[in-house]
Amino acid sequence: MKSSLDRSCLDLVAQATFQKTAEIGFQHAKQNLPYMKQTVLDVPRTSPEKGTSAISMAAGPSLHRRQTIQTIKNLNYRGTLIVADGAMGHCLRNGLIPDYVVCVDPHPTWIIRWFGDPDLATRADDDYFRRQDLDPALNTKERERNDELIRLVNEHGPKIKVIMATCVAPNVVARCRDAGMSLYWWNPICDDYDVPDSHTRRLYDLTGMPCMVTGGNGGASAWIFANAVLQKSPVAFVGMDLGYAPGTPLSKTQYYHELIKVYPEERLSEAYIEIHNPYLNETWYTDPTYYWYRQCFLDVVKQSGWTAYNCTEGGTLFGEGIEWMALDHFIKEQ
């Protein structure tokens, strides 16, 4: 495995992301237009009893390894909880109702699974959810878990506000509306909006919705939303490993199927990057996409000047502007 990825490699991932998401996202935005009634700036603020702190949650393996939700519940955390869509099911199954869920990925068929997919039986079979460690509950009994999630989202949806990117697939929008969730819209900032042919400006001109920096994924967007829109402080994040725990098989990594199509099997490990975490004294590893997410997040923290409290208790995300902290310590300080 490598020890880092240089700028030109990061550029390739960034460009692949843009190419994969920009045009389909614009087409989705056009279809979503009739439902864009409220912007992210209209979102109701949390009650004063919740205080000024917030926790944003992504769906990394440390959620399960560190029993993050149990800690939040056991310590009776009263602050604001903002989750990426991928983490919502894990919260609901464990009796924790988030205040906000952030949805940004325009993938046409995967994202609805996080809300319970009413059409799962008709989808082409894939093992995307079964092979990843984001939510082990989905690794077995996929249909039963999906039915359970549909019930949970229908039951709790009206209490959860969705911070919905305009580019998200219309089936996700329909699912949220059916579940009685309130939608608050925003455009992802995908390129330089000052350039004449800017994709971001095109989205803005189409929708009129405010635009927000993404950080590259839903977990980062949740943390940015907590700071920029809710203006919470301090904001911790959990479940944002951006990597794989020691011992995780390569075949259980998110981009394994893409990598094995291109890499010779005996050289597959060269695609991955090892990162020694000095706070854990453990060596985790990550793939190029997660490494790009990591760099995006470090850039946001550095450039925004906001302090990020990493209470994940695992993973690869540390650096300038990031305070590493145990979750129970962060909660007890509030």
């Binding site: 240089d6 030109s8 490699c9 550029d11 390739l12 991932v13 960034a14 460009q15 692949a16 992301t17 843009f18 998401t21 996202g25 940004v104 990925d105 993938h107 990117a165 900032i189 995908c190 390129d191 330089d192 909006y193 000052d194 350039v195 004449p196 994709h199 971001t200 400006r201 803005y204 405010p210 927000m212 920096v213 993404t214 590259g216 994924n217 940015i224 700071n227 920029a228 829109v229 203006q231 893409e258 990598l259 199509k261 291109v262 890499y263 010779p264 050289r267 060269e270 695609a271 190029p288 996409t289 790009w292 997410y293 995006c296 850039d299 946001v300 450039q303 925004s304 000047g305 906001w306």
Partner: protein, 81 residues
């Protein structure tokens, strides 16, 4: 000019957005060309397939943008706390 980070070389991005102290576009392209020669073909092909959830760019401290005209003094919320 506000500092731009993120999708560094997306087409249409003007070269004046390069960070201070960085080589100009031609030098950078040459350096990248040299690097590309050392990166295996399958690695380049793999990286080109590994897109993330959503593109990322951040301009200066601006975390929110509401259609304001581009200037150095455009207001964001990133520096308000």
């Amino acid at each position: 000019m506000a500092k731009l980070i993120g999708n560094y070389t997306v087409s249409g991005q003007p070269t004046e957005n390069a960070k201070p102290g960085q080589p100009d576009a031609t030098e950078r392209e040459k350096a990248e060309g040299a690097h590309q020669a050392t990166v295996s073909e399958f690695e380049r092909r793999a990286l080109g397939r590994l897109g993330g959830s959503i593109a990322f760019v951040m301009k200066g401290k601006n975390v929110l943008w509401r259609g304001e005209k581009a200037t150095d003094s455009s207001k964001g919320t990133g520096d308000e706390k």
